[in-house]
């Protein structure tokens, strides 16, 4: 591995790990806040840091004016490019104005900063670190400490094989080395990438020419791909089982056993539910699966049944509601992490949320197109049904790669959000129901799905030549459905935001009459 690839690998690891840890903390907040809002409560908003208003005023005003001055200076430096100069000056004006307005609007006196409750994960972190690390006197000290580590580790490393963006190609110039070109300031994104379309094919991997360095946006591109994820996720079971065993507590042991048996059971159906997707893309590499979806259509349209199966088994693997049999206050208290406190407990919770993120990433990669966007390819937007091209527009390479990264993380967040909703919507299964559902419903269903997919693939292979074109058009129709669905959803969302139903007021009680006379129950500024 040359130095360039090494540095890129480190950057990618830093990006993914940073994203994972940050999102884990944010998800703990989202989960609590979301469940509160579903239940018509406000949720966590009481963690507060008090800051003198004057400091905030100075920060907002000084920051805005400073940034504005910097932007204005940049605008002056870009005098040769009138468009860029105008943009810089406009941005400078906006930033400075925002700073001044913000400074004026900060109330004087002490200001409580709550960030809509986002300080709660911080408070949780402080609490977890400073709490007593309790080990049961008759428990196994070593295994008790190992349990959370084993549970957290697979969740941390499985994202390594998930591609989070289209391959970035850096043009090095003839015989050039990236570092020397960087040193001479001639990396030239703009000019080199304008000619990029000719150098790389629309589909497949970019060609390896000496002056072109492909940087796959994926920490490691393993041929075994998804098998690596399953292999590592399988070790998470050991963490739960070991934690339950070492705690010297009957409830913890029962919880550990439940967790282990549930995860083992659902791992089978989970793996088998994805076989259809592998057969269709004829690869285990996640990047190939995404490229197949980019060329054709999202996996959810070719494997809708597997999507449901995978979602159900993924939720069961995370041991989250409705499959939270390993923990249950009324049966076995907190299950296998009953005897854990402080940071060890929080490692279990972090592992759970990271598994949620990983399973969401898998769901996005295999069924929701990964980083691919319908009708968007390496060379820009091509609105086509089969061979009929309706509209085409070229886009610069860097913009497309950046868009693909944004789209991947956006999809990931959306699926995480959906999984949290499942938790707050579906009531939990009893333990025997979990087992019955896994072995007697999901596993046969996964097998049937596999066989049907195989039969369909054979049928397509032996069909007449015309079917290929028909399938291509069908795939593009599915893509169009996605685009139209998003457009419809966007319009509906904007309409929802704009609507403001006026509630019917009921002044039946004397307190309501008194509140009405006072002009409402609002007395002091509301907190988010």
């Amino acid at each position: 591995m040359d130095s360039v690839s090494f540095v890129f690998a480190l950057l990618k690891i830093a990006l993914i790990l940073g994203f994972l840890v940050t999102l884990t903390a944010v998800l703990t907040w989202v989960e609590r806040r979301q469940c509160a809002l579903i239940q018509d409560r406000v949720g966590p908003n009481r963690a507060v840091v008090y800051v003198p208003g004057l400091a905030l005023k100075l920060l907002a005003g000084g920051g805005g004016l400073g940034l504005g001055a910097a932007l204005a200076a940049a605008g002056m430096a870009l005098r040769e490019h009138p468009k860029a100069m105008v943009v810089c000056f406009a941005a400078a004006a906006v930033v400075a104005l925002a700073g001044v307005v913000g400074a004026v609007r900060v109330p004087s006196g002490t200001v409580g900063i709550r960030l809509a409750g986002m300080l709660h994960p911080v408070a949780d972190g402080i609490k977890f670190i400073t709490k007593e690390d309790f080990v049961p006197p008759n428990g196994d000290r070593l295994l008790h400490a190992l349990g959370p580590i084993i549970a957290l580790f697979p969740a941390l490393v499985t994202l390594a094989v998930v591609p989070f963006g289209d391959t970035l190609a850096v043009q090095l110039g003839a015989g050039g080395n990236l570092w020397s070109r960087l040193a001479h300031g001639r990396i030239g994104w703009a000019d080199s990438l304008r000619h990029y379309h000719a150098a790389v094919p629309r589909f497949g991997m970019p060609t390896l020419s000496p002056d072109l360095l492909p940087v796959p946006l994926q920490i490691v591109d393993l041929d075994v791909g998804i098998l690596y994820i399953f292999a590592l996720a399988g070790t998470g079971i050991i963490g739960a089982a070991v934690a339950g065993w070492s705690s010297d507590n009957k409830y913890a042991l029962l919880g550990g056993l439940r967790a282990a048996s549930q995860m083992v059971s659902y791992e089978v159906a989970m793996g088998l539910s994805l076989v259809g997707a592998f057969m269709i893309s004829s690869s285990l590499r996640l990047d190939d699966i995404v490229r197949w979806q980019s060329e054709h259509t999202w996996g959810i349209f070719v494997q809708p049944f597997a999507f449901v199966l995978f979602l159900a088994t993924a939720v069961a693997e995370q041991k989250r509601t409705p499959f939270d049999a390993p923990e249950g206050e009324s049966e076995i208290v907190a299950g296998y992490f009953l005897e854990y406190s402080g940071m060890k407990f929080s490692m279990f919770m972090m592992g759970e949320y990271m598994e949620l993120i990983v399973s969401s990433a898998l769901l996005v990669t295999i069924f929701l197109g990964g980083y691919a966007i319908p009708f968007v390819h390496r060379d820009g937007i091509t609105l086509a049904f089969g061979d009929r091209v309706l509209w085409q527009a070229a886009l610069p390479h860097v913009a497309l790669v950046a868009l693909s990264v944004l789209v991947f993380f956006g999809k990931l967040l959306a699926v995480c959000f959906l999984q949290l909703f499942i938790r707050w919507t579906v009531p939990r299964f009893r333990y025997d129901q979990v087992m019955r559902l896994g072995w007697r419903r999901l596993l046969p269903a996964a097998l049937v799905n596999m066989m049907l997919t195989g039969a369909a693939l054979i049928a397509v292979d032996h069909a007449s030549a015309g079917i290929d074109q028909a399938l291509r058009i069908a795939a593009d129709v599915c893509n169009a459905v996605v685009v139209l669905g998003f457009a419809y959803g966007g319009v509906a969302f904007v309409r929802f935001l704009a609507s403001r139903p006026k509630p019917q007021q009921e002044l039946l009680s004397t307190s309501a009459q008194r509140a009405h006379a006072q002009g409402g129950a609002h007395t002091s500024p509301m907190q988010a």
């Binding site: 409560r41 935001l497 129950a521």
Partner: protein, 215 residues
């Protein structure tokens, strides 16, 4: 003796059972329906918070959305008949209406009212006609807010219409409310007097009934 009724077959109310067809047993459509409900709550409430359109919890209590009172930033006004902290009402001259008859302390089931009656000084028109509370003490920690003292008072001298609930303190002494404090409270309309007229000795409306001048 009751006559035995003829035995009748018990007819239960037919309860419709949920259908156990394939769609219900696959969970998927039902889960989607459930998510639709939870999402509606989530988005309506998030929008209310984000755009500061929260319902007034008292006035819009029956509407969709966040109808909870964020105490202490928001408070629900007490209803008119709320029994709050006691107050002693004033006469026109600012002295307490109380005549120290001890009706309230007698009626009090919690025995939280302590009154030391005092005589008006010699020469006062009210001497010999009525007394006044030299000390009037209510232990608000003992009080059970039953309102019997207000019912018992023949002079409309004590009321519980301050609109303040019992305040939390950090020491028992602070719950001992004495005459000055009780007289400093106002009703919810801000007044310290009452509409009920008083007829002081010497006034034209005074019926002239006292210890020395019977009917």
């Amino acid at each position: 003796m009751t006559t035995p009724t003829t035995a009748r077959a018990i007819v239960g109310k037919p309860v419709p059972r949920p259908a156990r067809d394939a769609t219900a047993r696959s969970f998927v459509p039902e889960i989607l329906k459930g998510i639709r409900v939870t999402m509606r709550h989530f988005f309506v409430n998030t929008k209310q918070i984000a755009f500061d359109q929260r319902n007034d919890p008292v006035l819009d209590g029956f509407a969709d959305g966040l109808n909870l009172i964020s105490y202490p930033e928001q408070k629900r006004p007490y209803p008119d008949r709320n029994r709050g902290l006691h107050r002693l009402l004033h006469r026109d001259d600012g002295s307490p209406r109380c005549v120290a008859c001890l009706c309230c302390s007698t009626a009090c089931p919690a025995q939280c009212i302590h009154i030391v009656p005092a005589e008006y000084p010699a020469g006062d028109a009210r001497r010999g006609y009525e007394r006044f509370p030299g000390e009037f003490v209510i232990d608000e920690l003992r009080c059970i807010f039953c309102g019997f003292c207000v019912e018992a008072c023949p002079c409309d001298a004590i009321r519980m219409d301050t609109g303040h609930h019992a305040t939390p303190y950090d020491s028992r002494d602070q719950f001992i409310y004495r005459k000055d404090m009780l007289m400093s409270f106002t009703g919810r309309d801000g007044s310290q007097t009452t509409e009920n007229p008083r007829h002081e000795p010497g006034e034209a409306t005074h019926p002239g009934v006292d210890r020395h001048h019977a009917h």
